[in-house]
Symmetry: C2
Subunit: 249 residues, 2 copies
Amino acid sequence: MIDKHSFIPFYLQIEQILSRQIRENALRPGDPLPTEAEMCRQYQVSRMTARKAVDYLVRQGLVERFRGRGTFVARPDTRVKVQLPLDQHLTSSEVASSVRRKVVNRLLHFSQQPATPEVAGALQVPEQAAVHYMLRLRLIDGTPFVYEQSWMNQALFPDLNTQALNQSKYAYLKSKGYGAVGSHKQIFAELPSTEIREALGLARDEPVLHASVIAFFANGVPFELSNVYYNQRHYTFTLDAPPRPLLAL
Amino acid sequence: MIDKHSFIPFYLQIEQILSRQIRENALRPGDPLPTEAEMCRQYQVSRMTARKAVDYLVRQGLVERFRGRGTFVARPDTRVKVQLPLDQHLTSSEVASSVRRKVVNRLLHFSQQPATPEVAGALQVPEQAAVHYMLRLRLIDGTPFVYEQSWMNQALFPDLNTQALNQSKYAYLKSKGYGAVGSHKQIFAELPSTEIREALGLARDEPVLHASVIAFFANGVPFELSNVYYNQRHYTFTLDAPPRPLLAL
DNA sequence: GAGTGGTCTAGACCACCTA
DNA sequence: AGGTGGTCTAGACCACTCC
């Protein structure tokens, strides 16, 4: 029961009760939560308040709501997930061969723009220098997998075109004589914008992994800045650190 | 203006209008959004609906609400962030020396439990075998930085105690004669539970990076399973991939 | 048809901030 | 004191599911 005189809002108190019941297995995966009408009676609150109590549990993925059926404790996701190493700069075709699935690149947008200060700094070009700007979606077996926004130094790739980008960007690089690439990434957890969420086919409130990447050639020259958003639904990301001596303390 | 006969809910239509204004810089960082009362008049909706339109923008971190002041387009976070490599298995003291700040470990819970099937599988021990269970919070200069839930094979560490855990776990390992450790991580973006959110001092709706880690000795024997939750507020995580030849296509 | 969740209203009281 | 966001109510109509 909730405390009507507490400083904790009703909806938070109810949320914590439900959350504890799930955590302590009083409510098990697949079990229905009380209906909204039941919660109104049980806790003596209005329906809007009862709904709000469940909202955050839905956002966390702890419970699922179905219109006309009810609200249920989520079952752990048992779908087999593809595992990909996060610490290598893999090209699409390398991903395809490692997961043995068909990878498709879809170019959503391609244009040329003057470099903003941020882009110019990352690509080590003057501000306002011409850069390629593109949005691409990568699909594995038809499932949207990666949404990528990127800027490339136009001076290095004067003849980059839509055909090359709809195929493999790295095949294009190789054809230009560039043999090796490395990258520097920053990794974030993020709630995606509506645009990215829709492109990746995600539910509202589902966080994504966001990598901000600078890719460079073997000589150290950066050629691309990108923001890469990963759909976590069917893929997990792995990192292996080999045994390493513990330092002196 | 919104379309009252559309199948798109009012709150989503308003959210999209605001989102577009921010994206197209009609509303700039620091600018106030219309107040809730203004939005009610402007779009002819109730206040609950107007609030709901802004909720998701708040969750995304696109806008910030301040009671008594108003709602404003969020300014990009310019605080200097500590950058840590995600691809190494760093001990607390290594982190401390690399960021030149004071790192404190706080033990929140310590007990012994029978291994669940999942824990037993990861640690390669029989089900129900005794394992240490602990919750720890790591703080850098007083700021909660990492929340860690972990299980360790009790057979390997019969004398593990609270004192060792409040100090450095790896100092303890070293004192037991274990010289090198590696790890296998899976990385997720996640909305944290209330417990973790409060321990890390996060706002509601702020996603965290979650690493599920198996740590092992040089001989390959796993000794610890942990779920590590990272506060992104003051730290970013980096990954460097050195230049690597592009494969044949 | 009965029950479920999804949306929406038109008020209300409150805590907090700025003035 | 007046304006802001935070919470809450007691209804309402709807789309959908299940029987």
